[in-house]
Point group: none
Chain length 420, copies 2
């Protein structure tokens, strides 16, 4: 028996705040993840301003193209909240007031001791035949209706309201109404140190953008994520398709695959330090605190991180890390020798088990022919050994800082890799 | 003479990472703001997966509906980078290799001493008759072509590359090719310390979402930006409409308006330090390097920043900043006394003119009834005076760190405000 195709889903968002660029559309991404997890294939996001005619047309077009259409926004009490009327007109239904929904809206205001404006009553009007979707966290109820072969569900645009309503009302409806959809299993491998084209080349033998599993590559903070998505008639089958491909991909990528499913290199390094009960100290120059910032985003990092000394000025390198002024004069602040001395000084002064340092030229100024923008030295001092790496990084200042910080953390990972 | 209608623009993004929900589409919002500023009306965002046929169809449909179509994504070197071929097929052009673009891609790799994969050559193929758009920060060139009445411009999906290419290549082209569009003048006022609803309430008298100028509010890193957009038949007229409203808004917002047009509080603080020739040192605990990171994103900060000491462990507060162990025992590491001692120690040890410190509980763990998650102390030591502020910040760990770092920098701004 062949695996059925994933039913197509579309997301249609409305709101001038989106087309004016005042608000980034996080709802489309959130809904896409949820729908993918439920075994649907999101084939389109559309965002329109609060204008009636194109909205009606697009609702009709989406309901012809996809089996599921999620509408986001336009359920508020004001005149530019068009979704109720647009859906009624798109699908040839009358707008009727729901007594039950109206009572809930009244109760919402009464409970908070706030007066209810007359136009809030409009929020209880729905296309005839709709199922009203309850809003557990706000005033705007949603609704769902059948339009030809499609299920259309209208949710409020406020993200916490949309999320709560989708999870409580829409997801169970989708699971019930689409029993035959394929199961999906997904694994993301996070890589470091390889260009996108190189990851693509290496993995092209085990998966393709159209195959099962399907391969897609994504760039995040300069690092490449390889995502494998397998389909099957059941979850177990999807996982069986996925597992050998993931295993092969890991073998092919080797040490470049540092983690999975959204992990940052900082997560992996902190977990290694915790497991081995090792303390880390950091000494930064051109990355200016970014390594510390990445590490301290992680709850509980205080158990492994002692300090991060950002020695931006040369005096600070001397005073705080014990780099000698003579060495800085002789080798330059951006040099393998100074990187090593920074890591060694950091370890000595903090008493850490492992110390990592970065010094480099993030630009745009400060580069020379011999030491161009993008030249970075990272050093790791672990127990009595120091390793130094020279990097030549492309991109602008922010990109160079981002890559340098993550490659320095990767060097810590390498140093710890052999330690049980 | 009435102000002419704004020409319609559409944004068409492609990428599985978008329809799978792995990445939030920030490009659509950024492009929408820029296009609005240039006097275009964004009438639709569409996002599609990396699938050829619907992409071709949508390119054609968009070019019939709008005068300007911006494509984002699909210009990389891999087989799922479809934009070049899709545009050629959508508009009936042959793909031809640009020798000039190829030379630039080769130079990009050569300059960085990296080998160029054969599939990177594909990035120099464009629909015949296109103008090649240079990429100042990456390998993927873009292209622009005429399709009927529409100008279609294809940009890389990586945000810094897209932004640089739009500003340097596309914006000048749009200004030249659409001389009749209404002129627009824009000013963004960056605020700190006020909730969105409070900024809205204060400014509602001087501009509305529908008026001229038009007011819109945006949240960025927990801070509120008030954006005023005025239209006129000429740039001079638009500026004449805008100026008095901006003046009034500044007066109403007072010290809460710290900057304008995308400035971060770190930009303002660095500019103040540069102007006054003052040196800064930083001592962080719960913000973990974020203050240093915000400051060192700014080119040329080395002239004013000496060091940033992230004392995550209590021993580091003692060893690096001279806070006494007795004080930490007595007051707790998160206390007004320790914040003050950190700033004073930072100033003393670094020799800076001004020092700023932060200590707090970013969560999710570590809170108590007396010292809950979100409690943060910031101190500023300037010459011989120390000021300490207690903050109680809402949100999760990342949001607390982000707000604490920015409010600490705002405290530096206050301390320096009286100094010429």
């Amino acid at each position: 028996m062949a695996i059925s195709r994933a039913p197509a889903a579309e997301i249609l968002c409305s709101g001038d705040e989106l087309t004016l660029g005042r608000v980034v559309n996080s709802n489309a991404a959130w809904l896409s993840r949820r729908l993918s997890d439920l075994g649907f294939e999101v084939v389109r996001h559309t965002t329109l301003p609060d204008v009636m005619d194109p909205y009606i047309e697009e609702m009709r077009a989406a309901s012809r193209r996809a089996r599921v259409v999620i509408l986001s926004g336009g359920l508020g009490p004001t005149v530019d909240d068009l979704t109720r009327e647009a859906a009624a007109r798109a699908f040839g239904k009358k707008l009727v007031r729901s007594g039950e929904a109206l009572a809930e809206i009244r109760a919402f205001f009464a409970k908070r001791g706030r007066p209810m404006a007359p136009n809030n009553e409009r929020q209880a009007d729905f296309p005839k035949g709709s199922k009203v979707l309850r809003n557990p966290v706000g005033t705007a109820p949603g609704f769902a209706l059948r339009a030809g072969r499609a299920l259309v569900a209208a949710l409020p645009g406020v993200p916490p309201e949309l999320r709560a309503m989708f999870d409580r009302e829409v997801a169970p409806m989708l699971e019930k109404q689409f029993p035959g959809r394929p199961a999906v299993a997904t694994k993301e491998l996070e890589t470091i140190g390889l260009a996108e084209s190189e990851v693509d080349r290496r993995l092209s033998g085990i998966a393709t953008p159209d195959g099962n599993p399907r391969l897609s590559l994504m760039l995040r903070d300069g690092l490449v994520t390889a995502r494998l998505v397998a389909r099957g008639r059941t979850s177990a089958e999807a996982r069986r398709v996925l597992a050998p491909a993931v295993k092969k991909a890991r073998r092919i990528l080797g040490a470049a695959a540092f983690g999975e499913d959204g992990q940052d290199i900082s997560d992996v390094v902190v977990a290694m330090l915790q497991k081995r009960r090792l303390k880390l100290s950091v000494a930064e120059s051109c990355t200016g605190g970014l390594i510390g910032h990445l590490l301290t985003k992680i709850p509980g990092v205080s158990a492994v991180l002692l300090e991060d000394i950002v020695t931006y000025a040369n005096e600070a390198k001397v005073n705080r890390l014990g780099v000698t002024a003579a060495m800085i004069r002789r080798e330059g602040a951006v040099s393998a020798a100074v990187a090593a001395a920074m890591a060694e000084g950091s370890q000595r002064k903090s008493g850490a088990d492992v110390a990592v340092s970065v010094t480099g030229i993030a630009g745009p100024g400060g580069g020379t022919a011999l030491k161009p923008v993008g030249l970075v030295y990272c050093a790791v001092r672990f127990r009595n050994e120091t390793t130094v790496k020279e990097l030549r990084l492309p991109g602008d200042r922010v990109m160079i800082q981002s890559r340098a910080a993550r490659l320095a953390l990767d060097q810590v990972r390498s140093a710890l890799a052999g330690v049980p």
